[in-house]
Amino acid sequence: MEGKAKKKKRGEEKLQVQYDHLSSLPDCLLHHILSFLDTKTLLLTGILSKRWRALSTSFPILHFIYSDHKFRPKTGEKLDNFVRFIDQTLLLNSNPTIKKFTLCFPYNEKCVSHVDTCIRFVMQKAIQELDLTFTGNGSYKLPSSLLKSKTLISLKLKNCVFGVRHIARFTKLTALSLSCVTLSNLVLEDLLKGCPLLEDLVMEYFMCCTRLKIGSSSLKLKRLTIKVDHYVAIDVEAPNLQFLKIDVADFGHCSFKDMLVLRDACFNASCAPSNPSEIHSSLNLSLQSLRHAGFLELSSACLQVLPIPTFQYLPPSFFKTKSLIIKTGIQKYEIPGIANLLWSSPDLENLIINLRPSSCIYVKKCMVKYDFDERKYWESLTATFPCLVHHLKTITITGFMGEGRLRSSLKVFQSNGI
């Protein structure tokens, strides 16, 4: 009856078009819209009408993120509901392929069978992007079946354990991110061998692994991020690497093969003063391998291992760096390294000095090497830095703490007309 009244007002044709044109759009379009929704709103659309119900149950992207929802006092019950809900959603999903699957919740041993079920489910549906982020104390042991996925393109794992020597075969994987993952040296080696197309590798705070060897099997690797807070020997041979970021709290052995196409490199190493001098020369050699990077960021410890430059000729292996960020306290043990870097970077255009407190990596007896007055050092320099003459355009100083030490070093720049 209401319809009739409207008909008179607007005319029959117009009423029909007015009626929910949105729901008649093709599935692919509406799925595109759904991809912008969080899981909660996505499910909400499932109760609008049968059409939207079908859309939401055939949606190929599933994100289950526990923290998206408000916590209630009875967390245990809440977690049970969460897990049951995932099971049901998977059961109802009618799409033959799942593109993306995210599972992020505080894992404990009770949930192991549910997570296993999820993985089995998505594996059957030709999963392309999988993200398993487990918060909380428990670690999930990965089933060996996952390691043989022929469809996975991107895999992200947090708080997971790799079993003993399951041979991985990821024939399509291009991006791998491991955070707080437990795996042995051998398993890591096998894993990297099993990913021939890998372009992107992130390794953060891994456990049980003392040697990170990225060898000849990772020919396609373009981006590498490593973040560790314990001793790890790093061995990288990746000729096509473009982006490298390394954060190591306790620097150990390190060896890099020359990376000719490197564009961005960030090396934040710290060294304990007790480390033997071989470590220092190993770090120095590693830095030389980064010399092709146009953008370079170095920590205080990196500066300290660089030798005092001769100021006579440009070293044959000079840096091609155009932008340089150095984190330094401008202390006397860092100054020779800074001078070295500036001397051997003739193409430098931008210099950013990030001032921060630093500590010396040498034990006291070695300090004899740096027994000089840094003010006199800078003021006595008569050599002309090639970068100052040629390209250097901007110098930015951040984190300034009002120390007088900077003045003398800036005088060198001033005297060169910057």
Binding site: D20, L22, S24, L25, I33, L43, R53, H69, N81, Q88
Partner: protein, 159 residues
């Protein structure tokens, strides 16, 4: 062929909507559409390009938003403004929204696909199913029992 690819951005392209109206659009704006780009690559550029699936009022909207989108690239405030316009359009005229979405999809304009999808996503967020049905004129074809069952199944998410 060579004339199309080497020309400057000030070149004007002529397009005709389904209801016969003729539009003159700058090449840089028109090339946002992958459909038009493909047609030009196939050397249809010297004639008027017909768009049989887009009506004039909708095409006006598309061009307007293409221009705005090009302007806002580095402007955060404009971006916000453009994002907030969806709410108004969806509330006042969901039918035009659907037509716009359809046209953008047909013309294959990636930036506007994402913008219009974001509009609906923002619009749906935080609204009750009843309100959404009412505003978008979606007919509820569930029986009360079916609806209760779905609600019960998804209770975890709706708490």
């Amino acid at each position: 062929m060579a004339s199309t690819s080497n020309s400057t951005s000030s070149k004007i392209i002529t397009l005709r909507s389904s209801d016969g109206e003729v539009f003159e659009v700058e090449e840089s704006v028109a090339l946002e559409s992958n459909l038009i780009r493909r047609m030009m690559e196939d050397d249809c550029a010297n004639n008027i390009i017909p768009l049989p699936n887009v009506t004039a009022p909708i095409f006006y909207l598309v061009i307007e938003h293409c221009k705005k989108h090009a302007e806002m690239k580095d402007n955060k405030e404009k971006k916000k403004e453009l994002r907030s316009q969806g709410e108004e359009l969806l509330k006042s005229d969901p039918h035009t929204y659907s037509n716009l979405m359809e046209a953008v999809n047909y013309l294959d304009i990636k930036s506007l696909m994402d913008l219009t999808a974001q509009w609906l996503a923002d619009f749906l967020k935080g609204k009750s199913p009843r309100l959404i049905r009412e505003l978008l004129k979606i007919k509820n074809d569930f029986t009360p029992e079916e609806e209760a069952e779905i609600l019960e199944r998804n209770r975890w998410a709706f708490d």
